[in-house]
């Protein structure tokens, strides 16, 4: 007796065989113990693979709504060329003149318009999803050690880690960039960039914060002391790894206090 090919048995198991083909296999299985055993083996091992692969599953850091919103926002940003085509019209020219004037004013350090743009950037819901995180009490004043540098009006991002870990990734740090890490008594991780970080952008999910275009500016990172795991990577190199109460420092440390560490890029 010719046995059914393994691929055909699997297709039958997966509901891919229909009509005449399925009837033919069923007819064969009724008479062939070896093929029934083979089908049972495929069924059992398929269950084993399913169960094994489920061990790899990790929940999404985003709700479907957040992910959809971010995907939509990214698409809007990439449709800029269409906007530029619109601006090529007569109305567009007038708007462009206004925009150029505004940009020129914004380029002047200390100008009110520049401050407005900075504030708008800070309130960008992608860049600053603080409102999406649960309300948490403000952390108390840091203990003596390295003095933290924070100002309420600076661009930044904050989140409450929900999986016991956080990764902070800093990109494009130029020589002279200073990164302060403060260990706090709160439950919120935050990153704030100094006022000299003109092009800085942030991205975040529930367990990760990315800081892009830091340049030579200063960033202040606050990490809850109670958080089991935290890491700081700067341009792909790990500078700090927190494992429980242990801090492993492998970046360019210039100052270290009991609850704070200061790095300076060179």
């Amino acid at each position: 007796m010719n046995h059914a090919a393994e691929g055909l048995l699997l297709a039958y198991l997966d509901g891919e065989s229909t009509g005449e083909a399925a009837a033919e296999i069923e007819g064969h299985l009724a008479d062939c113990g070896e093929c029934r055993a083979e089908l049972d083996w495929l069924r059992d091992r398929s269950a084993l693979v399913t169960s094994a692969l489920q061990r790899l599953d990790l929940p999404s850091a985003l709700t479907a709504e957040q992910a959809w919103w971010r995907a939509g926002a990214a698409t809007s940003a990439r449709r800029a060329p269409a906007t530029r085509r619109f601006l090529a019209g007569a109305l567009g020219r007038a708007a462009a003149i206004l925009l150029v004037s505004a940009a020129a004013l914004a380029a002047i350090p200390g100008s009110p318009l520049r401050k407005l743009f900075t504030r708008l950037l800070a309130n960008d819901p992608i860049a600053r999803p603080v409102a999406e995180t649960p309300a948490v009490p403000q952390p108390p004043a840091p203990e003596p050690g390295v003095a933290p540098a924070r100002r309420a009006d600076l661009p930044g991002v904050a989140l409450v880690p929900t999986e016991g870990r956080v990764r902070v990734l800093v990109w494009a740090a130029a020589p002279g960039a200073t990164i302060r890490v403060n260990l706090t008594a709160g439950n919120r991780v935050s990153v704030e960039a100094g006022s000299d970080a003109e092009d800085v952008r942030f991205r975040s999910s529930n367990s990760r914060i990315e800081v892009m275009n830091l340049g030579s500016a200063e960033a202040v990172i606050e990490i809850p002391r109670s958080l089991p795991f935290a890491s700081l990577d700067v341009d792909g190199r790990q500078w700090l790894f927190k494992d429980g109460d242990q801090l492993r420092l492998s970046g360019p440390v210039v100052e270290r206090g009991r609850d704070a560490v200061v790095f300076r890029a060179h």
Partner: protein, 165 residues
Amino acid sequence: MDYEGLFARLYPSLQRYLVRLTGDADVADDLAQEAFVRLLRQTIREDEVRPWLFTVAMNLVRDRARKSERRQRLLNTAPDLVARVALPDEAAERGERVMRVRGVLDQLQERDRQLLLMREEGFRYDEIAKVVGVAPASVGTLIARALRRFVALYEATEVLDEPRG
């Protein structure tokens, strides 16, 4: 096309597929969103969206691996970090189980990984054939072989894990 409805229906499956491929939930979210962003710029029939998304996602995984060896190292270390979050004993056990499966997947050829993971997501054989680039009639045979290879590697590590003596 109801993009938002498609997103709600397909995102969880795509994210799970990418987590299993990359071992990193954050990376999976990023790549899944990127695939959807590209979808929004496409004109495509609704019944072709799902295979299309998985094809794009697979290409994004490949691009990411190619572009930066440094990033690849991050991907490889992420599951360990995640596994260590739970209580010590529990974490160690979970970490071992995860690393065992991850090790088996890593030893498979990329096509075998794709075949097994797409089957787990409930794709039809003709869709799998389109994404993987094989003849539809050969999909059953190819998956059966991939299944055998996975099981052989998986059971081999089980023997090694047993206490000696």
